[in-house]
């Protein structure tokens, strides 16, 4: 991380052949967001925003996304380390499998979770039988669904940081007599901290926006499993204005998160 960053030479003029599609691309991404701002019912926004249901959904969203991120950190960092450093057979395949939730339609993820952790699922049936505990339709179920979808973001970021980090510091620590766990804690982790932060924030943002797996696996009950994206979807059926307001809140959170992340993101992944 201390290495000087390479500077790309800045050319004076941008060729038109690049500029036009670039501006079109920018417009394509930004116009829908601007449309959201333009359509917002600004006058009645405060009253809609501070309604009990919105507050409840937002609170639940923040709690669940944070809990999911904590789970992803606890499981994802070791997984990323395994992929980046350990000598394991079939690493390429494992890496591909880890990123499957990135491209899998979230609804499919939700169905898969139901089939495994649901009341009749492979593991879920045991849980229900032995402990009388079942995950679907609970807040814990929301956390599980979000963690499933968001974990790849953390793993990819941390693995990238691990690959970019200089292994010589770890080797030096080892030659000085540090065990592998001590080396990991005192040398490896600090050196990839920016990558971990970047991954955690991305992971959190993805969990916050998670819809398909949540509604499929955890269902929808206000106060227990209704997160913001679910509230947006149902509000569209009856009161589109409320949906716009909720969407604005999510948009604001995303922009703030990504803006804060930018510095870290760049330094984390070089």
């Amino acid at each position: 991380m201390t290495r000087s960053r390479r500077r790309t030479p800045v050319s004076g003029r941008v060729p038109l052949v690049l500029l036009v599609p670039a501006v079109l691309g920018l417009a394509f991404l930004l116009v829908p967001l601007i449309g959201l701002l333009a359509e917002a019912p600004w006058s009645s926004l405060p009253s809609r925003l501070f309604s009990a249901e919105v507050g409840e959904a937002l609170r639940l969203s923040l709690i669940c996304a944070t809990a999911a991120t904590v789970i992803c950190l606890l499981l994802g960092i070791p997984l990323a380390w395994l992929l980046a450093r350990a000598e394991i057979p079939g690493r390429g395949l494992i890496r591909a499998l880890v990123t499957v939730p990135l491209v899998l339609p979230p609804v499919v993820g939700g169905v898969a979770l139901l089939l495994v952790l649901g009341r009749r699922g492979l593991i879920g049936e045991r849980l229900d039988l032995w402990f009388g505990f079942s995950l679907p339709f609970t807040t814990a179920g929301v956390v599980v669904a979000e963690a499933f979808v968001a974990m790849p973001f953390l793993v990819i970021s941390v693995e990238g940081a691990l690959r970019a980090a200089d292994p010589r510091y770890e080797e030096a620590a080892a030659t000085l007599g540090a065990g592998r766990w001590l080396t990991f804690r005192r040398v490896t982790l600090p050196s990839i901290a920016p990558g971990i932060v970047a991954g955690a924030v991305l992971c959190w943002a993805r969990a916050l926006g998670e819809f398909g797996a949540t509604i499929t696996f955890a269902g929808n009950l206000p106060g227990r499993t209704t997160t913001m994206p679910l509230a947006v979807y149902l509000a569209l059926e009856t009161d589109p204005d409320v949906a716009v307001v909720l969407s604005l809140v999510l948009l604001l959170v995303s922009v703030v998160v990504l803006a804060c992340l930018r510095e870290r993101w760049i330094s984390g992944l070089r």
Partner: protein, 262 residues
Amino acid sequence: MFRRTVAAALTAVAALALAACGSDDSPAASSPTSAGSGSAAVSGTVNVFAAASLTGTFTELGKQFEAAHPGVEVVFNFAGSSALAQQINQGAPADVFASAAPKNMDQVTDKGTPTVFVKNKLEIAVPKGNPGKVTGLTDFTDQAKKIALCAEQVPCGAAAKKVFEAAKLTPQPDSLEQDVKAALTKVGLGEVDAALVYRTDVLSAQEKVDGIEFPEAAQAVNEYPIATLTKAPNADGGKAFVDYVLSADGKKVLTEAGFEAP
């Protein structure tokens, strides 16, 4: 290698785009020059916009209709009734609109004269064998039982609300699903002990789900209207299809699927 992959991907996208254009154009190209008004003059493509709950029955009716009118093609657009109503109002080329609720038919500005062609009512769906031992609507107030209902914002949820009001019961749902099929799926998977869905949904999932009828269902009967749209590109074809749905043959298909005659 990378470049080749990108090139292949781009080619695939371009091919898809072309295919999409092709299928968009074909109905227009083959649409008739509405000469005669008799049903014998039916030709071309009939675009039918129908509620998602009619997917099975209307697909079947479309096949029968095509068999009875050689050379005619029926193209369906199945989706939620409110989404379809919006599409039609924004100028989508529809000849027929079959809605799951009169409310959505009323939203369409250029509807013809709608006719109610079937009714659908709620039924309790339980997993095969009824492991939760559900017997009636009162089980929905049992906190210990896992219950799914539709959210009030969607039609099956609104109907469920009416039913519970009529029965003077306060349900204790574990989930308010975003549509009736999601509720049905959770019953089929055994994740809930019971859900309120339409009678047709229970019949469509017979191998996984049992149905229990209850008297209060009569308080919230869903009416399905159908109409030939006034701006229909193929008005004759649309009218012929509506006539077929209303005919004895059409009724047979619909009632076998669990719909009731109006």
